[in-house]
Assembly symmetry: C2
């Protein structure tokens, strides 16, 4: 069970943090860029290889401290096919270090096309009599706007893998559609209750299902309320740190045993070196320190048991 494995890693490391791997080339220290430009010229290949070296440094530094990483697909697609190749290598490298890998791609489509996305990120693909794997992540974020026949092709893989469906996102304008009143409830609550239902057949040993929800740290009241109304839905919580969410804000995401959520930090960890030094020689140590500080902040509110 995918979420159970994530929960065990959280308990083992006493740390409900997922570190974002969302590097634009600007976040990568110059010595890494220079090395790759030397090899590959000023190309997307050089940019992608730079991001990969940066990711490897971050993963090596964080592997003992955090249970999970979350590469954001947009930053890899930004660098074209070479970037997407680095996404795949990053997933593989993180898994080889025992990390749980959530690909944040917010994929969405219907029927056969949603099935292709599910096969790409969570499953396998059949080709000429053999079975191959494309990205093979542990979990994928999914957008619910197309309704349940856009979700079911993903839940088919939720015996082994997990998805996190967007419910209430961390951005300001999430209120525009997600808070729209549909009858007596805002839309995000309708979505959250569907997520709770979609997960019914995929509940693991701690009582949480492999169909999770994305709920932003920037909406602490909503987090607290959804924790109560969706008792088996595990939360992926973005918006901590750079976007303004604090440790106090995310307390409500957890149940009374300290379970039920994982908190993402991307720039706060990845770009910690930019606050400390000019050249990024010690980017990995800076990331480690930032992640350790975050772990302590979270543990002051919530100790994962």
């Amino acid at each position: 069970m995918s979420i159970t494995r994530l929960q065990k890693l959280i308990i083992e490391k006493r740390n409900p943090t997922v570190a974002g791997l969302d590097a634009r080339p600007e976040y990568v220290p110059q010595h890494i860029i220079a090395e790759n430009v030397e090899k590959y010229g000023r190309t997307l290949k050089a940019a992608a290889e730079s991001v990969y070296m940066f990711n490897v440094g971050l993963i090596d530094a964080l592997a003992e401290l955090v249970p999970a990483v979350k590469p954001q697909s947009a930053y890899y697609e930004l660098l074209g096919p070479d970037g997407v190749a680095v996404l795949k290598r990053t997933i593989d490298y993180a898994k080889s270090k025992g990390l749980y890998v959530i690909v944040d791609a917010k994929r969405n489509d219907i029927g056969a096309t949603a099935t292709a996305y599910a096969e790409a990120y969570l499953g396998m693909v059949e080709f000429d009599g053999v079975t191959l794997s494309a990205f093979d992540a542990d979990a994928l974020t999914v957008n619910p706007y197309l309704g349940s026949d856009g979700i079911k092709p993903f839940t088919k893989y939720c015996d082994e893998k997990a998805i996190f469906v967007l419910a209430k996102t961390s951005n300001k304008s999430s209120i525009e559609l997600q808070d729209m009143l549909a009858g007596d409830r805002p839309l995000y609550k309708v979505v959250a209750s569907r997520i709770e239902r979609w997960g019914a057949d995929y509940v693991g040993e701690y009582g949480y299902s492999n169909v999770g929800a994305v709920v932003g740290a920037t909406y602490p009241e909503e987090l607290t309320e959804l924790r109560k109304t969706c008792p088996r839905t595990f939360f992926l919580v973005p918006g901590y740190g750079a976007q303004g969410g604090t440790a106090a804000d995310i307390e409500g995401a957890f149940d009374k045993e300290g379970r039920g959520a994982i908190i993402n930090s991307s720039r706060g960890i990845m770009c910690a070196w930019q606050k400390k030094e000019d050249d990024g020689t010690h980017f990995a140590e800076c990331a480690y320190e930032a992640a350790l500080k975050m772990k302590r902040e979270l543990n002051a509110y919530i100790l994962p048991m």
Copy 2:
């Protein structure tokens, strides 16, 4: 102006059809698969190269007949990084043949991340003092669930490029969220009226903007009504053919001058050979015939002027 260029191509070819390039390996004739397995083994590389050869054949056959193609990103991601490399080469090849290229990827995220997607598909990326391009499509489909700060990073590119925002999708369960009553209107109408507003600054010479909407052929009444309430929003209409939409169903997508929409067919054109022959030797001719038949069907209802 992006949509204006698309409209001129539609008028020139008297054909408001966009051909989907959504090939799973199963849709590719065996002689192409065999050639690539011979070269690359039973690998995702072989699958991806097979899809590319199939796409080149389809593009060559269709380039004089249709104004636009729509590769669906899911089917390229399905084949991993090699598949995504083939997406890029397919975009380039289609553009070299004068076709307008809509990447159907339904991307969505917030702020900096949405910007990365926009740069990846519509814009350019800065790297170490140079400007590079990742995918460089003419248009991209976008999911609106995150609200306007998930859309604005894309509209920044809408002076030159176009987006199509999901309003009412063609699938059955689109009713679950999209038809939910928000006040006195279903959600998709709220989204459609926002799309109409987002496009206000990007209107071209025929009166349509570079911020278009996706509205399914399977909902003819909704299409007809949205045509009236969103007079400057160009529609990308999926659901024709395989999903059940007919030429009569899409009549309402067009204004009285026969403008305002483009109709997608994917499997109906791409897989036409599977209805005619066993081995796919003439897949390109079969695709041409199917596309010609569709053009005639559409022209019986609507002649693009």
